[in-house]
């Protein structure tokens, strides 16, 4: 079983299939972490993906060693994984709680307050994100990395080769678009 560090080295060396193996290994780690955090019933507000990724061993992987495009791919990948894992978990939990029925509600700030733990928000954003991606792929990517992946603006900027200011602007705009999409 290769360690992540070794895998990174291999990716750098340009080995065939190393990147895929890296992602496969990373996936398992991420899943474990995501589930363990979500299992924590006490803190039911937000999924706190920031803390999640902070605690993630992956973060301390010397991903600086990856070349730029590999790193971008890795971050992007991690965010995608987080997203799917989180959504899966939310769906499972809801199914457990309600005996299987997950009614979709539209998002409205007033209603949002009465929903458990922003879970609905997660599901809604998840659904809308694909639509957003079709029109504005970069915005969607920023959302995925920031909202699900929990990366900071600096990290996103580095990974996507943007300025922090652009990232912030993208984030603002993306949220407005999502808000519009979810309210209609």
């Amino acid at each position: 079983m290769e360690t992540l560090t070794e895998l990174i080295r291999r990716v750098n060396a340009g080995e065939d299939g190393a990147r895929d193996r890296l992602f496969a290994t990373a996936y398992d780690e991420l899943r474990v972490l995501a589930r363990s955090r979500l299992r924590d019933g006490g803190r039911n507000t937000v999924l706190d993906t920031t803390a999640l990724v902070h605690e993630s061993y992956l973060r301390f992987l010397d991903s600086n060693q990856l070349r730029q495009d590999d790193r971008r791919a890795f971050f992007g990948y991690a965010s995608r994984v987080m997203r799917s894992v989180i959504i899966d978990s939310v769906r499972e939990r809801r199914a457990e709680r309600r005996g299987g029925d997950a009614t979709e509600l539209t998002l409205d700030t007033a209603i949002a307050e009465s929903l458990p733990a922003g879970e609905q928000q997660l599901l809604d954003v998840h659904a809308a994100l694909d639509d957003l991606h079709a029109v504005e792929p970069r915005l969607a990517q920023v959302v995925e990395m920031r909202y699900f992946g929990g990366y900071t603006e600096l990290e996103i900027a580095e990974a996507l080769e943007l300025t922090e200011r652009t990232v912030r602007r993208d984030w603002d705009k993306a949220r407005m678009m999502l808000l519009a999409m979810l309210r209609s």
Partner: protein
Amino acid sequence: MPIAAQDLATLSRLLDEAMELPPARLEPWLDDLPAEHAHLAAQLRQVLAARTAATQFMQSAAGSQTDAAVADAGDRVGPYRLIREIGRGGMGTVWLAERADGSLKRNVALKLPRLSWGAGLAERMARERDIGALLEHPNIARLYDAGVDERGRPFLALEYVDGVPLDQWCRSKALSLPERLRLFLQIARAVSYAHGRLVVHRDLKPSNMLVTADGQAHLLDFGIAKLLDDSSPAGNLTQEQGRVLTPHYASPEQIKGETITVASDVYSLGVLLYELLSGTRPYAHIPSRTLGALESAILEGEVPLPSSRVTDRATRQALRGELDAIVCHALRPDPQQRYATADAFVQDIERHLKGERVLAQPESVRYRVARLFRRHRAALLAGSTIVAAIVGGAGFSIVQAKRASDAAERARVVKEFVVDVFKVNERGSTGNKDLRQLPAELLLERGAKLIETRFPGQPQLQAELYGVVGGIFADMGANAQAADYATRQVETLVAIDAGDAEQAKATLLLAEALFAEGRIADARVRADRALALSERFDELRPAALVLAARVALKQGDKQATRALLDRAEHDLRNAGATVAGARAKAMRASMLTSDNRFDEAIPIFVSAIDTALAVEGPLSPTAIGIRLELQWLFVNNDRGEESKPHRQAALSALRTTGAAGEIRAALEESRTVAHMFTGMVPAQISFEEARDTIERNRAAVAVRGAIVPRTITADLDDALGMVYVGWGDFARAAPLTESSHAVLSANAESLGQRWYLASRQAVVAMHLGRHDEAAKHYQEVIELRKQQGWATHPFAAADYAYAALNLRMQKRFDAAERILTSAPQFEHLKGGGVGSSGYTDLIPRALAAVHLERGDPAAAWKVLPPEERDQTSDAMHDDILLRGQVLCALGRPAEGLPRLERAIGIHERLVYAADPSLARARAVTGQCALLAGQRSRAQTLATQAREAFIAQPNVSPYFKAPLQELEQRLRPAGTS
């Protein structure tokens, strides 16, 4: 109606435009939208108008909290109006406020918490309000109201309590034990009341307890802790402004992130009681360089008994037994084993006060043994991002490394951890060096560089890691590296504007490292800064004061030293056994010594060592440092025998610490041994033993190779050189001293160091006939003594005597006399050994020597101090020789010669056969023998002297002169 795909694209473009516009221009712009986009106007308007809502929308998932509600005096927050800010913390701000409608007279404390906007905020606030209504108790600050205002800011309206934090109150009023207990009971009863209403506090600590002027305690923030916990991302009670405070009051289950129950409050109450009774916190002795150490200690629950922390006998007796047991019962790591309720806690204390039997029992032996086994399976600490970060999958932690009772084990563990975690192939590294072969320090260096590159954009983490690495270096004695990383830590903390306490600790660590390195001027700057930063913090201030005192003493500023030490002792008087206390004692003893009161100092030193051992264990680094100082002082006072046990203990402890400890041990041993050989009284140790010890140490250090800093090898060379000088083998000494001094003088910082170098250089130069050079050095030597504040210390007499000798050797007798008469009146050496009077007699003897060599033996005789009745000490051979010479010069060879013979008899046992001063002494004796008619004896002596000068030719003509005269006189008459 969902937005169509093509509309999305348009929406995106329009938003781009809109975002560039100033708010005032938005409406007109919306009105002016072209017809085909008009249908989007409604949505645009909504989204843009609710931009604040959008700001809060999805903010929670992103994890960053909305900033503390920005507020100003006069603002309306719900039904209240802000008057002035009365508190600020990471959790938010607290304002004094009044009802805006003026309906009620009382003012409230309005808390504006930093909560992230999340789902259910308003709901939660309402819940808090309900809980607050439940709690009506004279010792609980009322929560009147809670809600969210129109701007979306959450607020809590609390009863305004005008009081002083509990710990401060107890200190300022100097409350007696029963009074403290009663105050505690107020709190505990309030907590019990709340528990009865199913409300757990979760964050009990003295800062949450205010005492009003009437002596009533008030508990604050009931239930708020839970509120904040629910909202903040990591739910970590101890997080404030992204900094992590030391969780002294947190229960083990809180640290592990498990459910909080009534028993958690009991635990916190236990900590509070501990502090009230003993004046210290249960884990005050854990070095808080890393978070992990403290948390680990809490999880293990090894707590020293409160009575053990108290210095005052009466208090200690009062605490022993029942109160100790009560406190420990509340502090059990397993919640099931504590008092089940605060009420049970209260009742047991009441029983104690009434004199009835308490229920708490002291820990059984079995319980303690069980805990010892658990110690080795300390779990990873949740919420400690440092540990998690570094450990990853390695399975152990820095915490374990630092606590390993066997310090050699520790070095190994650290090495392994570094290897395991930073298993990065350094690009560009040559060869296949097996990482495990490299010394620990080198690995740590790599690790530190990795901290830099691996965690960019996380200065908090970096700072803490620098601190950890620096701390490990310091413990191992690698001071330059410790200073390096401590500097980085301080700079990082300054850059992120970290809190004063954190900066103070880091700056203190830096100052200590600089001091140990000998960079005294730099250490002074940092020590002053550390002191300024720690002013407010009772637990930090004493250590800062003690260090500042040490620095001041090194700089010769005795007045400052005294003042600082007095303050430190004042601060520490109630603290019980602590490292700072041990250091303060040692400092006091050092000061006494520098005031020539060594005898009084000795028991204080010993007490300091005992304290350090009690706090840090048998391998206590503090004890090592004090022992080394003490043994050095014994040696300096010619009490070599008494120095031995301390030296052995210190060296063996150092050597157990690993690579750098060995190096340090090598250095200390060599320096001491060299000094023992060359002190005023020779033969505290034999030449062979001194030389062999140092050679052994040099070899041990050489094995380490390039890792060892040059100053260390130079120090060892210098020590060996010193031994050769004392032995009289200047040929061997000269290259050693020359090469080492080149390195050492570049780095010499403290007055003491410079004195050392100057005096050694002077002696070598003088013996090799380089008298001008020697004279310069002696001037420096005397000046440095003055600067050190030792001008009248008897040791300083030697400086003058040597300086005069140097001049005598040049036949500059007037100058020599001048120097001697200008010497101050020296005190008698107190607490010195056998040869102690030798110091005070140095000046008159030197004066006598001047007269003698000038050709005035009568004057010399007058000046000589009275002869010692009992002249068994080897030290006296110089004196005996001098007397013998004077008597011979006075034409009394019958009395002079036996003395001379005796002197050289002693001398030749002590030095190298080719020692120049021995050779000179022989020649002088030969002259006297000739005078006494013992020609063949004279001849023998002349031959011996000649042989010596053949073996060591390059010495000052002063030594050779008497032999030349003697040989002249021994030549058969008629030859020239």
